[in-house]
């Protein structure tokens, strides 16, 4: 096992992928708890699709992918948040509209410029080779920001997630915290989607939170458990991908599915014992 890990780390691209992957999965797990509980899961999915459009645009313009996709996705995050807040009933439809639109624009742009080639495939399903040195630094900075935010604002994030109306009524600026979470989610998605793929990055946000909620019944333990599950699944997924030559994104999701199933079984066992 250690030999295998040492061998994986001896490849620069693999070491980068593992490092970025671990940091991104840690951040996405933390943000995911709040997003899932606030019923904002679809925002993550929408952002990933917008990210696909932005990446396509960046390729067509021969610009640096992050330089284009970061501002576009951050902008989309604020937009989606507003849409979701203003019309609770049609919010999910609006998100679907925005995400499919940006997907379609992305495909059109690619087919008119470079043609439907390997790039498209990589954007949709991710590529482990996509991580550059800059990505490593960016993901380090980002995960530092997310961890600091969670440590400092943990109580406020809890209050706003648990009951936004009460939080607002008692004088907490819930809107600002929502914005902050949307902003960080956008950054995590942009960073993670090139490795995980636009179609699969949402799983990093949703799975760990749902998995740990099978067993944990307190906010703090859900967050802690999500972080552990998420990073462990990422590592398992990447090892799987390395050993069997499977696509990285799909392998990580497979590991998450397995963890979810295990937690479901443990959860029902626990309920049976305590009942």
């Amino acid at each position: 096992m250690f030999e295998l890990l040492a061998e994986m780390f001896s490849y620069t691209f693999m070491a980068r992928a593992i490092l970025v992957g671990l940091l991104v999965s840690l951040c996405s797990a933390l943000l995911g708890v709040s997003l899932v509980l606030k019923r904002y899961s679809m925002i993550g999915d929408g952002l990933a699709h917008v990210g696909f459009g932005a990446l396509a645009l960046a390729t067509a313009m021969h610009a640096a992918p992050l330089l284009v996709s970061v501002p576009v996705v951050v902008l989309a995050a604020f937009l989606l948040l507003r849409v979701n807040e203003q019309s609770k009933l049609k919010g999910d439809a609006a998100i679907a509209l925005i995400s499919t639109s940006s997907m379609a624009i992305g495909v059109l742009v690619i087919s008119m410029t470079t043609g439907m080639n390997a790039d498209v495939h990589n954007y949709l399903f991710g590529s482990i080779l996509a991580m550059s040195r800059g990505d490593v630094y960016l993901s380090m900075a980002l995960s530092f920001a997310v961890l600091l935010l969670f440590a400092l604002f943990y109580n406020k994030i809890f209050a706003v997630t648990f009951d936004e109306t009460f939080a607002r009524a008692s004088g907490i600026r819930a809107g600002a915290y929502n914005m902050l979470i949307a902003l960080l989610t956008a950054l995590v998605i942009v960073l993670g989607m090139r490795m995980m793929g636009a179609l699969l990055i949402t799983s990093l946000i949703i799975f760990p939170a749902l998995t740990s909620m099978r067993l944990c019944k307190k906010f703090k333990s859900v967050i802690f458990c999500s972080a552990c599950v998420s990073t462990l699944c990422l590592l398992c997924g990447l090892i799987l991908s390395y050993v069997y030559g499977t696509p990285a994104g799909a392998s990580v999701v497979a590991a998450n599915i397995l963890a979810f199933a295990i937690f479901c079984i443990l959860g029902s066992l626990k309920a049976r014992i305590t009942a």
């Binding site: 009951d163 009460f166 939080a167």
Partner: protein, 235 residues
């Protein structure tokens, strides 16, 4: 001393005026019951009093030294919150959070206050339990403990007894009365006149607009007061 008053105010919900022609005031020590059927605009009014939505027309006048954040608020029961992973003490503490401003963590004093509020509501022994494991009555008490933490001059309860059995409901009314007797104004949103009649000093009756505001005694003399459907019929 008047804490809050509405002058020809109207509040809207999703663009539609839900509570119109509001002219009433709440003074320190009052116990106001807001009556009305489902959809009569009670919750919209509550959101307006909390300062979450601005009045569509008219004005809200707040007494000197009174801010919307002085109100302890118990929201309506939400299905979504029932399974939320949270610790009981954590929830009670979150009522004190806004007062901490930018300081990120709770002090020992805050913890003592939160525990005292839980004790006051008879759920101190549940402080290490998880929210989803509690019965709806216990959940409601924990949320009231949170409201007590945030409360300074007014307690606003939105349908606190909906879905509770009659014994739990009566205990809830008693708790609200105790808070009222300690000098805090109470606004109780309800459609359960029979139980409220014993405690309320004032009645505000809504039917998408204000149709009555005055003292409990005056209300009893009106047709509505005599004929208002008794008990919890629409739950």
């Amino acid at each position: 001393m008047t804490l809050i008053a509405c002058q020809d105010a109207a509040f809207a919900y999703e663009g539609m005026v839900a509570a119109d022609g509001l002219n009433f005031s709440v003074a320190a020590g009052d116990y106001l019951c807001v009556l009305g059927e489902n959809g009569a605009g009670k919750t919209t009014l509550a959101r307006g009093l909390l300062g979450l939505i601005p009045p569509k027309q008219g004005r809200i006048i707040r007494g000197e030294g009174f801010a919307p954040t002085d109100i302890g608020y118990l929201p309506q029961q939400l299905e979504a919150r029932k399974d939320f992973p949270a610790g009981v003490l954590e929830i009670a503490l979150s009522g004190l959070l806004a007062r901490r401003g930018l300081r990120p963590f709770y002090s020992r004093d805050d913890r003592a206050k939160a525990e005292a509020n839980l004790r006051r509501l008879g759920v101190a022994d549940l402080k290490n339990h998880c929210f989803p494991e509690l019965s709806s009555g216990q959940q409601r008490r924990v949320l009231l403990a949170r409201a007590l933490g945030a409360m300074r001059k007014m307690l606003l309860l939105d349908e606190p007894t909906a879905g509770l059995d009659p014994i739990a409901a009566r205990e809830f009314y008693k708790l609200a009365q105790e808070v009222n007797h300690s000098g805090v104004a109470v606004i109780m949103v309800s459609h359960d006149l029979r139980n409220v009649a014993a405690y309320a000093s004032h009645i505000l009756h809504l039917q998408r607009k204000q149709i009555f505001f005055g003292s409990m005694e005056d209300y009893r003399r009106t047709d509505m007061g005599r004929n208002f459907p008794e008990g919890e019929k629409h739950v």
